[in-house]
Structures are given as structure tokens and as C-alpha cells.
């Protein structure tokens, strides 16, 4: 019965504040909605990945190599074919493709034979295109190719020295990402015509793949385990259905968890909203509490009433949130579709809904604990005398427990949502630090408002500023909530901006914007002539010499790799390097150790300059020796200097640079850099190059720029979608935080107006106060965001941070204005009613 009394009282006590409590519900709802949406989506993704992994791969096993398969591997593969296992092959390389329209573009050419895919369906337009193009000299292309080349189905395209008729375009290709078409649009041609293109020449990179239909998971795994070292030693990659499940599952899990963290902020903001709401609510209820105490209600009873109320707010908000979340998860595949290689099957995840409800209730109760502790200090004597202020009992144990519960909950929920426990803890710590800094800033605001009080300012300004530090001010909670919202949104903005800036092509007229790759030695003259005839300047011609590492100091690479305990960066020993040689340092690199080639040096061996990250990965440094296998010839070199390289610049950069004179006679290709002043000029030159030097690939940096912009924009779109939840709950909390001061403000302004203040003056006072609050919160939030943005770009993305003061200024202004507007809207009744009505309303 007593429990029922608490529930009844909790319900009755919401009378008259239901509108405001609904607001807090909305704050919790936004958080729960994002949790439920992301959580359900994640479950659905995991299930879909499990059921569709085979379709994504299109086969049971894929084996690939960035060149012709070595003989040992070929014999292993042949033995499988001999055993009756069905296989199909493909070769993939980049090449210029020229259309009837005269447009040309660097595309992915994929020679493939008829069997693929063994699982899943490739949808083409017309539907018969995929099944029939193998029969003739025909091509099936990604839809984007038609746009890029200004071509239609039925047109003829030239690839190398052969022509193909476009039989159709792809609508759905299993395992494709939406962004894929933008990054590397493909042209599929029958495998048997690859030779005729005559594109696979020296220095060109072509990936060879073999697909197996081998519907016996154990046998596949057995084969892979058995041949693992052989495959690894020959740099042959392989993918099983299980690998797809793992990799794709992990990647998508991480993606959704990152988004979940963004959504989690919404929940924490919601909790903060509930806390600040309960804080003020409790203040208004002190009389009631004192009366209840007088009438004999014990502390726990009163405490239970208001804790239950917080729980009810949480439950209400969580229910709304869960429904919203379920609706949003249906939308998520659309928002994230570009990053999903499969069609997500959406089903309602009741487990997530239950978790969402629980989290909503828990969050709001835990956040309410702190303000509710005040209830315990309420003395029944306050009912007798209005002016009675009890000596506040410090309750260090209760406070510590409440604080510990709050911290534990935030850490718990973060760890539950984060990609890894460590990241969850880091996230919680970051939130803690941000909250701490914001609290200090809020304290600083009240303090400096007092300290540097504008004594000479007009009365309304003085009164407005004084409101910041008057008793029962809302400075701390408003600054916390606003500052937090500002912090998150600005951090996202800074990171996005930095990413975009990083990949932006220099508009400086001396920088190259057109690059010719794979120019053979005997084609240099012809290319130079074409460039001259189109007025394209030669900004640079960079030789490229492919090589592999054969020894490091006195150990052969095989010896180093055979010891599996030593070096984790095995790819650094195995990869194919592309070296160059030159006598000068470019603007995208800086020497960090040793001497460049122009300094005299007493060493014996040919000198190289190495990328410092590679040197660190290989655990070698200045003076160490590396022997390179350059097309069968071993060349021993000595590390003379280390460089730091800015890889994000669109310039040819190299892990290792040789001093001139060593590689000059080695087999090599060239990269030519030039700049076209107009798209038309560039296109004409490109066309002539493609027609005459079919193997030369032309890359228009402007196009790459567009592609990257597109991808980054799509990613930030997904992130912003999640940030929307934080914004929504932030706004709700802002309105809530300001609404809670209304009671007090109504009282004050009635008094002021009784004393003769005009409505205009009261409005100005309110505007001054909110402007100050908005500025304090905004400045702190932006300051934190700059720090966080720098940290994220520097440590996580490893790029330099791009901060636009103008943009920050605009954000700050926007926040300050929003605060003033919300404040003004919220106080409009205050100045509209005659003061007597307000005073009477209050006294009743």
C-alpha cells in the first residue's frame, strides 16, 4: 500500500508540470531512439552478413595475386581443378577507356569468364546482358561508366587495341558498396579478349583472381590451413566465406558502433536534461516536501515519490524513443546504403527495444539521483516558517554513492555501445573531462561576472549580468548542456572540414592537375610532343622503378619472415615497392634525420632516403643496409636519410628514393605531371594520348577531388544523421533548462515591473542574461571542440587540422542568438501579463 502511495503521489505530483516533464521525456526519447535504431540495425546487419556472406563473395573461395600467379601456386590450383572443383578466373587492371563521344576516362577493366558468380545474382539492364555478353566482343559496365563516357548501351568503346560493344549496365552486383561506382567504375569484358587489348605490359599492375565453387566449408578451411604458408610466402591473398563474415561483420559492427557512440551523446544529454529538470522541479517542490514531512512522511517515502517520478519520465521518454527508434532503423539502410554491400533485412529486434526501455529509465533515474539528494535535507520546520533555512547536512556518503552510480552507468553504457571496451572507457573519460571543463567554465562565468561586474553599464545590463550569479542561478546547468551540444557538433564540423581540406587539390596555378601514368621509356618522346601541341607544360617527369626487398643488413627477407615472433609489419618486407631517383627534396616531404644526397658522404654503398614510418616499422635506421631486387638484379643500398612524407598531397611520393645514377639504366616507367587550364584542353589532350599511347593512364586530379568530396560528404551525412539526435535532445534540453527558470523569472519581473520597470527593460535584462549564457557556453564548447578536433585529426586520422575562425564565429553567433530567442520566447508571458496578475498568481 505504501508503495502505491508513492506511485499515486508521483503521478499526482506531475499535475501542472506535465508540459515541462514531457519536454524531458523528449530529451530521453531522442537518446533512446538513437540507441534502439542503431542497436536494432546492428543486429539486423549481423544476421544479414551471416546469411549473405557467400553471395557477397560470389563463390566459396577466392584466391588472388597482384600479378600472374607464381608457378607453385598455379600447380596447386591446377590440382584442385583436376579434383573436379569448379573454378572461374578474372583479371583486373586500370586502363583508359575511350568512347564514341570522344570522352575518355581511367576505369577498372575486369576480364572475367562465364562462371562468375556461383552464388547470388548479378542484375543487369537489359536483364540478358550479363548472361550473354560472354558470347561476343561485348562489355557490361557500371552505370556510372555510361555517365562518365557519355555513352549508351549499344555504343562501342575502345580498351587498348580492342573495341567492345556495351551490352548493358549493372544494376546490382553482390558485395558492391554504393560508393564503389564512384571510386572505381568497372568495365567487364570476356576474359579471353584481355590479351588482345595488349595492355598488360611492363610495370602495369593487374590483379588475377580465381574463384572456386566448393560447397564444403570444412574442405575449404582445410585447404586454406594446409597451404597457408605457401600462399603467404608467395604474397597470394585468399578469402573464404568465413573471412567475409568476419571482415564484413567486423567492419559493419565498427561502423554501427561508432554511430552508436554519436547517438549515445544524445542519451547523456537527455540524462543531463532530466537532471537539470529535476533540480529545479525539486526546488519548486520544497514546500510540498516540508508539508509531507510535517504530516509524518518519512524521508525514504518522499525520496521514493520523486525518484519514481524520474523513472516515469524515463519510461515515457523511452517508450516514445523505442517507437521512434524502430521507425528510424527502417530508414538507416537508406542513409548508410552507400556503405553497405548487402541488402539489410529489417526485422524488429525486441531485445534492443527492451534494452532501450531499460536504459532510458535507468539513465533518467541515475541522473535524477544527485538533485534528489537535496530532498533529504528538507526540514519539516520549513512548513512553519517560510524563511527557515535548515543547516544543510552534508551527506558525503550518499553523494559519493550517487556519483559512483552515475559514473559507473556512463562507463557501462559506453562500453556496451563502443567498438571496444577500451574505446568505451576512453569515450566515457572524454565525456568526463569535457563535463569537468564545462563546469569549471560555468563556475568561471559566474565568478568573473561577479568579479568584473560592469558597474558603469546601464541598469538593464547590470541586472542581466547580475542574474548570472544570483542565488539559484541556472548558469551551471545551462552552460553544461549548451556547451556540450556545441562541443559535439563543432568537433564533428572540424573533423569533416579537416578531412575535406586535406584532400583538396591545390588551386595554385603552378600545381599539377593532370597526371599521366605508366609511360614507357619509348613513349616519352611521343607524349612530350602531344603535351606540347596542346600547350600543356611539363611540370615533372618522375621515373618509377619497381623492386622488392631481398635483404635487410645481413639477413634475407625469407630469414626474417621465418621468425614469426619478431616483426609484426610483415607486409613491409613482402610488398612490391615503386622507387624513384632524384636529386632534390619536394615540398611534400621533409628530411627528419641524416643528410640528403647533395651533402658529401663518406659511405661506400649507393644511398637511399627512406620514409621514417617504414624505417620504424622495419626497425632500422640511418646507416642500415637494404638490398633491393630490381627486376632480378640485387642492388645493395645504405640508408642516408629519413623523410616525413605528407601522403595526402596529390603528388607522387615514395617510400624510398635512390640517389641519381644508380637506377638510371634499370627498367622503368614514368609519371608525367602537367596542368591544364580548362577542362576542354585537358580532355582533348587526354583523348589524343589514349588514341596513340593506349596503355598510358590519365588521371584528372579534379575528378579525384570530386570523388573524395562525394565520399567524405556521404560519410559525414551518415554521421550528421546521428548527430541530429544529439542536436534534437540538446535543443530540448536547452528549452527545458531555460523553461525551468521561468517560475523565478516571472516572480522577479513582476516585482521589477511593480517597481516601475517597463516591459522593454525586463526583456532587455533577459536578453542580456541569455546572451551571456549563450556566449559562455558557446565559447567553452568551441574551445573544447578545437582541442578535440585537433586530437582526433592528429592522432586518429593523422592529418593536419583545418579550423576556420569565420565558421567558428558564425557557430558561436548562431548559438548565442538561439539561446536569446529561446529565452525570450520562454519569458514572453512574463512581460505580457499585468504585474498584479502575476503577483496574485504567485501568491496563490
Amino acid at each position: 500500500m505504501k508503495a502505491f502511495f508513492a506511485i499515486r503521489m508521483a503521478l499526482r505530483e506531475t499535475r501542472g508540470s506535465r508540459a515541462r516533464l514531457t519536454l524531458y521525456m523528449a530529451a530521453i526519447a531522442a537518446g533512446v531512439a538513437s540507441l534502439v535504431a542503431i542497436g536494432s540495425f546492428r543486429e539486423n546487419v549481423t544476421r544479414t552478413v551471416r546469411s549473405q556472406a557467400r553471395t557477397v563473395l560470389g563463390a566459396d573461395l577466392e584466391v588472388r595475386h597482384r600479378n600472374d600467379f607464381p608457378d607453385t601456386i598455379v600447380s596447386v590450383l591446377d590440382s584442385l581443378k583436376g579434383a573436379g572443383i569448379e573454378t572461374t578466373e578474372s583479371v583486373n587492371f586500370g586502363s583508359m577507356v575511350l568512347a564514341e563521344s570522344g570522352n575518355s576516362r581511367l576505369l577498372q577493366v575486369r576480364g572475367i569468364d562465364g562462371g562468375f558468380p556461383y552464388y547470388g545474382d548479378i542484375e543487369s539492364v537489359p536483364a540478358s546482358a550479363w548472361s550473354e555478353f560472354q558470347a561476343s566482343r561485348a562489355a557490361v559496365v557500371d552505370e556510372a561508366v555510361l555517365v562518365y563516357l557519355d555513352a549508351e548501351v549499344g555504343d562501342t568503346i575502345s580498351i587498348g587495341e580492342t573495341e567492345f560493344v556495351i551490352a548493358g549496365y549493372l544494376r546490382d552486383f553482390p558485395g558492391d558498396l554504393g560508393v564503389r561506382a564512384a571510386v572505381g567504375p568497372r568495365v567487364f569484358i570476356p576474359l579471353r579478349y584481355i590479351e588482345e587489348t595488349r595492355l598488360l605490359r611492363f610495370g602495369s599492375v593487374a590483379t588475377h583472381r580465381v574463384y572456386f565453387r566448393w560447397d564444403d566449408g570444412a574442405a575449404v578451411q582445410n585447404f586454406v590451413d594446409q597451404h597457408n604458408s605457401l600462399l603467404v610466402d608467395n604474397r597470394v591473398g585468399r578469402t573464404t566465406v568465413e573471412d567475409v563474415e568476419d571482415n564484413l561483420g567486423n567492419a559493419l559492427e565498427n561502423l554501427t558502433r561508432f554511430l552508436g557512440l554519436v547517438g549515445l551523446i544524445a542519451l547523456i544529454l537527455g540524462g543531463l536534461g532530466v537532471a537539470s529538470g529535476v533540480h529545479v522541479f525539486v526546488k519548486e517542490k520544497l514546500d510540498t516536501i516540508a508539508v509531507l514531512r510535517c504530516l509524518g512522511a518519512r524521508h525514504p517515502t518522499v525520496f521514493r515519490i520523486y525518484l519514481l517520478q524520474a523513472g516515469m519520465i524515463g519510461l515515457g521518454g523511452a517508450m516514445i524513443g523505442a517507437i521512434l527508434g524502430l521507425a528510424i532503423q527502417v530508414l538507416l539502410p537508406t542513409v548508410l546504403g552507400e556503405f553497405l554491400p548487402l541488402d539489410i533485412e529489417v526485422t524488429t529486434q525486441w531485445g534492443m527495444v527492451a534494452m532501450g526501455l531499460f536504459t532510458g529509465v535507468w539513465t533518467s533515474m541515475i541522473f535524477a539521483l544527485f538533485p534528489l539528494l537535496k530532498i533529504r535535507g528538507v526540514s519539516p520546520l520549513s512548513a512553519l516558517r517560510k524563511d527557515f533555512t535548515p543547516k544543510l547536512k552534508k551527506r558525503p556518503i550518499a553523494r559519493t554513492l550517487a556519483f559512483a552510480a552515475l559514473v559507473a552507468s556512463i562507463v557501462g553504457i559506453s562500453v556496451w555501445q563502443a567498438p571496444s571496451p577500451a574505446m568505451g572507457v576512453a569515450f566515457a573519460v572524454a565525456i568526463g573531462i569535457a563535463t569537468g571543463i564545462l563546469a569549471v567554465a560555468a563556475w568561471g562565468t559566474t565568478h568573473s561576472a561577479k568579479r568584473f561586474f560592469p558597474r558603469r553599464a546601464r541598469y538593464v545590463i547590470r541586472q542581466g549580468v547580475a542574474n548570472l550569479f544570483r542565488p539559484q542561478n541556472q548558469t551551471i546547468s545551462v552552460v553544461l548542456v549548451l556547451g556540450f551540444g556545441m562541443f559535439i557538433l563543432t568537433t564533428l564540423g572540424i573533423v569533416q572540414r579537416s578531412l575535406l581540406e586535406q584532400f583538396s587539390v591545390d588551386t595554385d596555378s603552378s600545381r599539377p592537375n593532370l597526371v599521366f601514368f605508366d609511360v614507357q621509356s619509348d613513349q616519352r618522346e611521343a607524349l612530350t610532343r602531344i603535351m606540347e601541341s596542346h600547350g600543356l607544360p611539363r611540370i615533372g617527369a618522375v621515373p618509377i622503378v619497381p623492386a622488392r626487398m631481398s635483404r635487410v643488413n645481413d639477413l634475407s627477407v625469407e630469414e626474417i619472415l621465418s621468425d614469426t615472433t619478431t616483426n609484426p609489419n610483415r607486409w613491409m618486407y613482402r610488398r612490391e615497392y615503386r622507387h624513384t631517383y632524384r636529386d632534390s627534396v619536394t615540398s611534400s616531404e621533409t628530411i627528419t634525420a641524416g643528410l640528403w644526397f647533395d651533402e658529401a658522404d663518406s659511405g661506400e654503398l649507393p644511398r637511399i632516403s627512406l620514409d621514417e614510418d617504414i624505417a620504424e616499422g622495419l626497425e632500422i635506421g640511418l646507416g642500415d643496409r637494404i638490398t633491393w631486387n630490381v627486376q632480378g638484379v640485387d642492388i645493395e643500398t645504405r640508408i642516408a636519410s629519413l623523410r616525413r612524407i605528407n601522403w595526402a598531397r596529390f603528388e607522387p611520393n615514395f617510400f624510398a628514393i635512390f640517389e641519381p645514377g644508380v637506377l638510371d639504366q634499370a627498367p622503368q616507367t614514368f609519371v608525367y605531371l602537367t596542368r591544364s587550364d580548362s577542362a576542354a584542353q585537358g580532355a582533348r589532350a587526354q583523348r589524343e594520348v589514349v588514341e596513340n599511347l593506349s596503355n598510358v593512364a590519365v588521371v584528372d586530379l579534379g575528378l579525384i577531388q570530386n570523388t573524395i568530396d562525394g565520399v567524405v560528404t556521404k560519410i559525414s551525412y551518415a554521421v550528421k544523421f546521428m548527430a541530429l539526435f544529439s542536436m534534437a535532445s540538446g535543443l530540448v534540453v536547452l528549452v527545458g533548462a531555460i523553461a525551468t527558470t521561468r517560475y523565478q523569472r516571472v516572480q522577479e519581473s513582476a516585482l521589477l515591473r511593480t517597481l516601475g520597470a517597463s516591459a522593454r527593460q525586463v526583456r532587455q535584462m533577459i536578453a542580456t542574461e541569455y546572451l551571456a549564457l549563450g556566449l559562455a557556453a558557446g565559447t567553452t564548447g568551441i574551445g573544447l571542440a578545437v582541442l578535440a578536433g585537433w586530437g582526433l585529426t592528429h592522432f586518429v586520422f593523422e592529418i593536419s587540422v583545418a579550423i576556420s575562425p569565420v565558421w567558428l564565429g558564425l557557430s558561436l553567433t548562431a548559438l548565442a542568438l538561439t539561446t536569446v530567442v529561446v529565452g525570450a520566447l520562454n519569458s514572453r508571458g512574463v512581460t505580457r501579463n499585468p504585474p498584479l496578475a502575476t503577483l496574485r498568481e504567485l501568491s496563490e
Partner: protein, 206 residues
């Protein structure tokens, strides 16, 4: 000071502002504990009880009437009167809380305003609800702090009449703090405070 108030006695505490009337009332009612000395209600030493035990004692044996009515604004008249009953679930002994509360409200003449909120009632009506609430748990002792202080003459006398009648009917001990000499005159015993001390006490004058 040393005061004994007998069962069913009606004592008025009077004195100028700041003489300690309300402090004394708070101590007598167990809302606070004295730094030195002791207070007993119905034989129980309040000093020996915890805060929550004193709350239980109040719920069981003490009633209050305040100068500023102190109704809970979010509850209706009926719900306000029911609170002391609901707090400790005394429904079995004296019928359902709702019935008992509404009969008391009828008794104070508000039988037709059960569902009204405090803000919808006049001051006099609010104080009548407060009276009903004070008597609803049949307290042994009732403390009234300037019950007419916020009311006009007419409403004040209605309240005083009700208070005295119900007090007699329910055989309650009544301790009343007031400024109003006319109200004090109706008390059997008048304790006069000055500067925190008893200046006169008609109950011990003999």
C-alpha cells in the same frame, strides 16, 4: 522553560514577533530537536527518536494547521485530506481513506468542492481543507500556527469556530500560536512568551 500540557487541554501561546513562539511550536511538535532539554509527546521522549521515527509519531498522533494553509498545490482538496491516511495506510480501522476524508470535508462545509485544487479555493476554504486534513488521522494533539493570520475577520471566526468544535468533538489536545488576543481569550490556558522566556502562564498561575 518548563511546560506541561495536559490531554484535551487548549493552550494558546502568545507573544510579540521574535519572542520564540514558532520555535517553541516547532520543538513541541517534534519538527526540530532542542539543543538542550527534552520534549515528550504522549509519554515518548522525542530526543530519543530518529528523524524518521518522529515522522511516524507525527503521522500517528499529531495534526497541523498552518498560517499559510500549506496545501499541496498538485492535489485536490480530497487528495490533500487523504495524504495522512495514505501515508500509513490506516484504511482498515476507520473505513476507506476517501470516505473518511470526504466526510470530514463535508463536516467543514466543503462537501461540494472535493475535486477542486487549492488554487481554485479561497483562503478561508483552503484553511478549512487544512482543518479537515489536520483532524483526519484523529490526532492526539493538534498544533495550529496563527491559523487565522492570513484570513479576514469573517473567515477567521468561521475557522476558529470549526477548530474549537472539532477539537471538542474529537477530544484533541490543542496548542495554538497566535497574535490575536480575541482568539487567545478563548483558550483555557494562555502562555505568554517574551524574548524566548515564559513571561506568564495562566495554567500555572495557581
Amino acid at each position: 522553560m518548563d511546560i506541561d500540557i495536559e490531554e484535551r487541554e487548549f493552550a494558546a501561546i502568545i507573544g510579540p514577533s521574535g519572542s520564540g513562539k514558532t520555535t517553541l511550536l516547532g520543538l513541541l511538535a517534534g519538527l526540530d530537536v532542542p539543543a538542550t532539554g527534552s520534549v515528550s509527546i504522549d509519554g515518548q521522549d522525542l530526543n530519543k527518536l530518529t528523524e524518521d521515527q518522529r515522522a511516524s509519531l507525527r503521522a500517528e498522533k499529531v495534526g497541523f494547521v498552518f498560517q499559510s494553509f500549506q496545501l499541496i498545490p498538485t492535489l485536490t482538496a480530497l487528495e490533500n485530506v487523504m495524504v495522512p491516511l495514505e501515508l500509513y495506510d490506516r484504511s482498515e480501522s476507520s473505513g476507506s481513506p476517501g470516505k473518511r476524508a470526504s466526510s470530514l470535508l463535508e463536516r467543514v462545509g466543503l462537501g461540494d468542492r472535493l475535486g477542486h485544487y487549492p488554487i481554485q479555493l479561497s483562503g478561508g476554504e483552503q484553511q478549512r481543507v487544512a482543518l479537515a486534513r489536520a483532524f483526519v488521522n484523529e490526532p492526539k494533539i493538534l498544533f495550529a500556527d496563527e491559523p487565522t493570520g492570513n484570513l479576514d475577520m469573517e473567515n477567521g471566526s468561521v475557522i476558529v469556530d470549526l477548530l474549537m468544535t472539532m477539537n471538542r468533538e474529537l477530544a484533541t489536545t490543542l496548542v495554538l500560536v497566535t497574535h490575536d488576543p480575541a482568539l487567545a481569550d478563548r483558550a483555557a490556558r494562555v502562555i505568554r512568551l517574551e524574548g524566548g522566556r515564559i513571561a506568564s502562564d495562566s495554567g500555572v498561575s495557581a
